[in-house]
Symmetry: C2
Subunit: 401 residues, 2 copies
């Protein structure tokens, strides 16, 4: 129902029933509970054709505040939202990608959250929860960073550590799950119910929705499209395989490709990945032919890897998100679109769109805020969060792992 309210804006009970497929009676009960908790309020009274008055309901934005935090290898981006997920304040802090220890990273996360709260002047008491996405494999139901390859973290109880520092309810998840939730609620999910959002930065992955179901997988590890093969026995990847998609289209992959084309190119001398990509964008704007070749090769690899995703799942829409496509979209998106028909089966091509995500702001932060809002409503007893437990099931054969 929350999703319907975001989709529809201020809505009558009748519109909510139609949009959700719930009965009028169920919607009336739910609306009563949401109103009682102050999560909804009455936006307006209107009259229909026969003059009967009815209420338009909307999310009570001022009922509380939610923080959504995108933690990556190179930055922490924290956004403060009202309860209707409108942006109130935001702070981005750099993380040194070469510093791996827990205290450094946690200090960076807490510092960015506090700066975002200060920027908005938000009172701590009003915050109903903080959602933090962590790179790598996250067990969201246990609040654990199972494995973060860049920092070589194993089984860090990050939710508990952050909750102690912040003295606020914390929810952690993987950025791919956050990106697809925000795409489902605020992006192409408004017109289709199956889609993939491809997130590219240092790491590479895909959030996937199939017929309205957010694909988590049995250990919340779905979406590791960055670690599917483009080239058996190709470039070494930080996951241990050789030839993964990430090794070609992640930021370090672009550095490697540029070094193959012109090892003395000035963009390669920059200290960090984001500086590198910024200088690539600058050079492309200035018409550098070497960088045009870099985009051509990267676009071809990305199109091939997107072709695999589309051939497997036949999703009608793919969006790109993350700092790398945001910086390079004017050159990269056309290069991908040119190559894509050579990699997608003809039967899966009609109607397919590939575009930069239109989710506003930081899509991962917004998705984390949306998860956190669901958690808050669950604590109030208003929603049962979608089933989130892994389902190992009975064994029918000897497991591989």
């Amino acid at each position: 129902m929350l999703h319907a309210l975001f989709d529809l804006g201020p809505s009558s009970r009748q519109e909510l029933a139609r949009h959700t497929g719930l009965s009028q009676a169920t919607v009336t009960t739910l609306v009563g509970e949401f109103l009682a908790e102050g999560v909804l309020h009455i936006a307006a009274m209107e009259r229909n054709a026969v003059g009967r008055p009815y209420e338009r309901l909307t999310i009570n934005a001022d009922r509380g505040r939610v923080v959504g935090v995108d933690v990556a290898e190179t930055y922490v981006d924290a956004t403060v939202y009202d309860l209707a997920l409108g942006v109130l304040g935001r702070h981005e802090a750099a993380l040194d990608e070469h510093q791996h220890d827990q205290a450094y990273v946690i200090d960076g996360i807490v510092g960015a959250i506090e700066a975002a709260l200060d920027a908005d002047g938000t009172d701590r008491d009003r915050i109903v929860g903080v959602g933090v996405s962590m790179p790598g494999h996250v067990q969201h139901d246990a609040g654990v960073s199972v494995f973060a390859p860049n920092w070589n973290w194993h089984d860090v109880h990050i939710e508990e550590l952050l909750a102690e520092r912040l003295r606020l309810p914390v929810y952690v998840d993987n950025p791919l799950k956050a990106a697809i939730l925000s795409e489902m609620w605020f992006g192409v999910g408004r017109v289709v119910d199956s889609m993939a959002v491809v997130n590219i930065g240092t790491g590479v992955g895909a959030g996937i929705a199939i017929e309205g179901t957010l694909v988590r997988g049995s250990t919340n590890n779905a979406g590791e499209w960055g670690h599917t093969l483009l080239m058996l026995d190709g470039r070494p990847c930080r996951c241990g395989r050789h030839g993964c998609v990430e090794a070609y289209v992640g930021a370090p992959g672009l550095e490697a490709t540029l070094a193959e084309i012109d090892p003395s190119h000035p963009a390669l001398g920059r200290p960090g990945q984001r500086d590198f990509v910024e200088s690539v964008a600058g050079g492309l704007a200035a018409g550098d032919p070497v960088l045009r070749e870099l985009v051509r090769r990267t676009g071809r690899c990305l199109a091939a890897a997107l072709g695999d995703l589309v051939n497997l799942l036949n999703v009608p829409k793919v969006t790109l998100t993350g700092w790398l496509p945001e910086a390079l979209a004017p050159w990269l998106v056309p290069a991908v679109r040119d190559e894509l028909p050579r990699h997608v089966l003809p039967g899966s091509l009609p109607g397919l769109t590939v575009e930069l995500s239109e989710v506003p702001g930081n899509a991962v932060g917004l998705g984390m805020a949306a998860f956190t809002l669901e958690q808050f409503l669950a604590r109030l007893g208003l929603v049962s969060p979608a089933r989130t437990r892994p389902q190992p099931g009975a064994q029918t054969a000897q497991p591989i792992g």
Copy 2:
């Protein structure tokens, strides 16, 4: 509810309600309708602890007959089932993989169905429907073979053509959709609700279920895992790409690999793909070291490609089906299991199983019979078949295709 009856066997209304999550009242209504149409019957009367009598219900196997047909490049395999999907008769006919014309293929399909009916002595009047899987891209809701690469068919209205010849209701779909339905109902789907079944023969593909949803994709073209890349710019594939999984692990892929290892190997002289694979199986049983190397290389490619599937979807169970794994399982399955941990992310490995499918008989034929049974119940007004329409959705960007 049908699925619950297959899962549970003879069941009380209470057990059906518990298993399906439907209310007792809904189940009682449904059971009444199913009994009235003769689709269910009362298997037994029992008494519970307090002595109240209750009925055990089961599918009325003799209410009618269903035919499930697996059409591949090299054969037609037709099975006659009772309404409880018990096998009554079966006939397999060879198709010449080099003959592509429509009349030849349709004659082959009709001939195999008639032979299967004759084998069982089934009266035509009792058949409630014939489900036929066609290789390639099938639009199941329109009954059209959109594209069959081996025969170079485009937009053949195969459902209509077969219905005219057979004078029976016909339902067509893609074998990957049939294979996953039978895996969901009769295979590992009895213990998990997300899984992939990998079908290997001439062509290669995967049927996918995510949290109980059969993944069809926006044009019923999902599952084309055979046309995802193992090796960018690798072996030419019949789809037009280079380096697809199918070019390495489909039957012609194995022939190509063997020719790389030993171009004069006697197994390469066989006239058809199935003869080739049979002679490989025979040679492996006799300990041929060249064929052991063929299995090692093929197992490595298959493990790499399964690793991609698992890394993307984090499914806990993968099964193998089709004539090629059935012939080579004793050698191929261990080779795949050995290699798999090098290709699956550690977070997706715990509990993962890869095994030959335990679905009895021809999994594709059984799945087609199950789809056809659903269609029959829908014609009786007893079920609304799962949403099957493609959902093109409003365009938010310029489509690629």
